[in-house]
Subunit: 396 residues, 2 copies
Amino acid sequence: MANLRQASLRHANLALVARTVLAADSPPSRADVAAATSLTRSTVSRLVDELVAGGILEEVESVVGGPGRPGRPATPLRASTGRFAALGLQVGVGHLAVRLVDLTGAVLAERLLTADLAGSRPGSTLRRLRTMAGRVLESAPLGCHVVGAGLALPGIVDVEAGRLLSAPNLGWEDVVPGVALEAVLGGLPLRLGNEADLAAHAYAHPAPGHDSQPQDFVYLSGEVGIGGAVVVDGEVMTGRHGWAGEIGHVCVDPDGPPCRCGSTGCLEQYAGRLAMLDAAGLDASTTPSELAARARDGDEKAQLATRSAARALGVALAGVVNVLDIPTVVLGGHLAQVCDLLTPEVEEILGRRVLSGRWVSPRVVIASDDPAPGATGAALLALDELVRDPAGVLGH
Amino acid sequence: MANLRQASLRHANLALVARTVLAADSPPSRADVAAATSLTRSTVSRLVDELVAGGILEEVESVVGGPGRPGRPATPLRASTGRFAALGLQVGVGHLAVRLVDLTGAVLAERLLTADLAGSRPGSTLRRLRTMAGRVLESAPLGCHVVGAGLALPGIVDVEAGRLLSAPNLGWEDVVPGVALEAVLGGLPLRLGNEADLAAHAYAHPAPGHDSQPQDFVYLSGEVGIGGAVVVDGEVMTGRHGWAGEIGHVCVDPDGPPCRCGSTGCLEQYAGRLAMLDAAGLDASTTPSELAARARDGDEKAQLATRSAARALGVALAGVVNVLDIPTVVLGGHLAQVCDLLTPEVEEILGRRVLSGRWVSPRVVIASDDPAPGATGAALLALDELVRDPAGVLGH
DNA sequence: GGGATTAGTTTTGTCACGCAACTTACGTCG
DNA sequence: CGACGTAAGTTGCGTGACAAAACTAATCCC
């Protein structure tokens, strides 16, 4: 409900120009940006100059063989490398991760640590994360402004309060990670987020301002249980309180096995990592790839486990697609590793159970195999604020 | 991705001022609007003058005893009555409806017709609707501009193409209602919409620019089957193709009874009107209120039917709430008539099955008993375009 | 080397808003 | 009953952001 004044106009067009440059596949010239935005060249020039002066964009020395076109050669523009960056942190059930990502989406520095954190003490775990974050920040290039920090957590988060309400797979309840980390952040605001939400953001936007296809999808993140997120038009749906996306607890069968959430027949009880391994008669430490290999080799129990998981995924996702009309499903985490075993049956069930399946067939695709997409997503989300309002870091 | 120019600024602020006046509970003065929008009085004055000249707003003759406050008395503003209106049409399974709604949300004229249209021929039904629309338009007040028309349909709609793809309960397939109605519309664009989507819009916005509480909810519309809509921040989620909200076909039990959609165990098979009457051993023509009365009087089969419906609703809605974090459910249509029988058990199941139920208890509320909320919603949606860009009807 | 072509800059004009002074229209109080 | 206070609404001026168009710059092509 905020009003608009002349300054808003400038803010909005600065953001538009910045986004246009970041979204381009190859560095565009001022003239290209003018054509893409339907602003005039003079206006674009002025805005670009401001963004370059502010260190958000930079001009590329087009050394290599130009296009050989008549006319004055263009000055290609791109996001500044290493000038602005954001810190992405993640506490997973099996790992800690810290990443420093810049405006081009490049990882300037990172640290990964594999560890079983189920049942760990929040205090000591967050201290380990703090140490890792300190190292990463030390190795940031000179003159690099860290503009934000985000922390991905596998649980239900109160974003406003910066509080982790509950992370059953970690065994954490009611934790405020900001206090343990604030020494290393130096006053930088820390934004918490659900791991699946942030991973989904990273999938939709592999770099700040850069949109990938598709921009509407349902994201499933398999770790111990199943996290999820719904992305509409490139934006992660957070819901009324920021707790949307709990697809792992959609009911597949009301008479199904009890879930630790207190309900029965949740998707997680069929397609969660532990549930699948259990159904296949394998130890909890077995990797999903091992399970997939056994299923392919003809192990009957492994095949049963994957088939049961596929059926549950099909039923749960059909409901989601019926309600949201988002016919693309992205599988990440352990689900990505067994994706090719699941996909045919899941797609078959979706085609049958989705009302609009007659006109558009739902598709299942696989996410990247990044072990910590949540950390990347947390950093990218912080950088997005910069792209959305570049005037904030310029001369105000 | 459109750029901003000075004109955009004016357009945006015109819309802001218009919305502010429409959203106010009592007619605000120019000074009130200035305070609410944080625009200056001079700017508001200019914009209001334009809107008054354009016939969108009007000054109220404050005849009755003013507040007796010192200072120059205010000139209260409100939406013009009867100057701009939109036509809302609806084809339901049991009725036809036509409404003319103005900017204040008042119904200027309407016509309702009860008829069993299941299996009707689209051509003759639409001709009847056309006649009704003609009568309604004839009775519009002098100087009333009809700025848009919308048609609510109980099925899957291709909004862009103006085509009804499938309405199983009517038995209609692949119909383009625009051609049958264009004679009466006189070039006015007709916008199709799903009945539940439009009813949900009317619930969220009882008048143009006026927001009711809540602005985030799941809407269930019970007719023969069950239609649904998801409203986030006052906006009906349409999904990738406009087919979102098919909650009636969320799977409650994969081993449940077959549904006409080709799937099994859909919510509609438990809580649809026909399904409930069938389970209660009643004739298809029985009213839901009659069913409710029997259940209250101790009829065991009727109680069984309502309990089964409540359980199915609980399971299906729990899934939706888990995915979307929208803890308010609005029941309309036949579900509204049996709402008080269903609510306790549905809320109990939601509290148990919704992951975030520990922090926020989901609530079930009842919609208005308007027989054709879709028609109202269709008209309101058309008027919303006017409110969103008032400059469109002024001096361009 | 001159012309064509394209990139980027400079200049001038327009328009919407903020600011502040002003006018209007009412109550209040001596 | 008339001066004063107060709040609503108007008027005139200044500012800033963008459009339009003329201009400069740098390259290719002949």
